[in-house]
């Protein structure tokens, strides 16, 4: 097993952990932003010095810089997918609470209408 294979496995494990229940809220956002900045920096360096990418790849036991780029992209895509699924789950939970509040509010309104209707009818009879 090359060093990079080991790192790939680590990455997959990290994704799996994130997908279950790890980072929440603000810290998760901050880490995402740090990764985005690092990725941008790495991209600029790789464009300016393509041979640097191959050097890094060789260090990890990979022949070409382009291959390294592919592997890292796959990890990135998976991370994005997991983050999206989790964001949708949170959004769904908020929709559920909103819809429940609306449903209960409507039920209350209908009941209030019925009771005021009944009491006004009774007032009419007694008058």
């Amino acid at each position: 097993m090359t060093a990079f294979q080991f790192l790939l496995i680590l990455g997959i494990v990290a994704i799996a952990m994130l997908s279950i229940r790890f980072l929440r809220g603000e810290s998760s956002l901050a880490i995402k932003r740090i990764f985005a900045l690092l990725a941008a920096l790495a991209a600029v360096l790789a464009i300016l010095f393509p041979q640097l990418l191959t050097l890094v790849a060789n260090f990890f036991g990979i022949g070409r810089g382009a291959d390294l780029l592919l592997y890292v992209s796959i990890i990135g895509a998976l991370l994005f997918a997991v983050a999206t699924v989790r964001a949708k789950a949170r959004s769904d939970a908020r929709v559920t609470q909103l819809a429940r509040s609306v449903a209960l509010l409507e039920a209350r309104l209908i009941e209030n209408q019925e009771t005021t209707h009944q009491s006004s009818e009774q007032d009419g009879e007694s008058a």
Binding site: S19, I20, R21, A89, D92, A93, V95, T96, Q97, A99, R100, S101, V102, A103, L104, L105, E106, A107, R108, E111, N112, T115, Q118
Partner: protein, 241 residues
């Protein structure tokens, strides 16, 4: 968060004619596209339980109107949210109206009203916070081999993860007392709420028991029942949340 009104509406007017012991029991029925059977289910319940609330979970077949005409209270989800979400809405509704006990009941007519009444009696007599219905405590119910395997797998996983000792995890017939009810907040909108409700009730450490009940497998409920694929969803919903 649920909006709680300053003065919850009381139901003295509608419950004054019934025995006081039944006045503070609410039957909660999650309702989704069961227009052909829900009327009969409600008519079967009303002589025994005067307070029946159906949570119409965005039905497209007019189930809500049928249930209202049959004499049930209706709470309508503006969109379809799932059975677990409907149950939680029903719990909030019943608590708001001062329910002492809530009976959860399926809309498809697979439960017996007599079983529900017996479970409420038992909760009262034995001072139990929760009574779960179980179809595996006697031999009245015959679910068939495959369904039995699925249900037994589900309950085994549930017992592992929740440290309870039950024989039937996905039975829709339950009796829950107010103190237990107020500590439940179901987050599983879809079918995994069966396990979630047990997990949350287990955490309350309140006394519970299982009551043998009969599940009526009509052709209708068979056609709508949980398939093997659905139990895969239940397991994955429990792991990823």
């Amino acid at each position: 968060m649920t909006v709680v009104p300053a003065e919850p509406p009381t139901h003295e007017a509608t419950t004054s004619g019934t025995p006081a012991s039944k006045a503070n029991i609410w039957v909660v029925i999650p309702l989704y596209n069961e227009a052909t059977v829900i009327g009969g289910v409600i008519e079967g319940l009303l002589p025994t339980f005067s307070n029946v609330v159906c949570i119409d979970d965005g039905s497209s077949d007019g189930s809500g109107e049928v249930a209202r005409d049959a004499g049930a209270h209706i709470v309508s989800h503006p969109i379809n949210l799932g059975q677990g979400a409907a149950l939680q809405t029903g719990f909030d509704y019943a608590l708001e109206r001062g329910a002492e006990f809530v009976v959860t009941f399926d809309a498809d007519g697979q439960h017996r009203v007599a079983d529900a009444a017996a479970m409420v009696e038992r909760a009262r007599n034995e001072d139990l916070a929760i009574v779960f219905g179980s179809r595996f405590l006697d031999d009245r119910t015959n679910p068939g081999m495959l369904k039995k395997l699925v249900l037994k797998t589900a309950v085994t996983v549930t017992n592992w993860t929740t440290k309870t000792h039950l024989t039937d995890a996905h039975n829709g017939l339950r009796v829950i007392r107010r103190d237990a009810l107020s500590r439940i907040q179901l987050k599983q909108d879809r079918m995994a709420h069966g396990t979630e409700i047990i997990a949350q009730l287990g955490l309350t450490k309140l006394p519970y028991a299982e009551e043998p009940v009969e599940v009526l497998y009509t052709d209708y409920s068979k056609a709508k029942g949980q398939s093997l694929l659905n139990s895969v969803n239940i397991l994955i919903d429990l792991i990823i949340r």
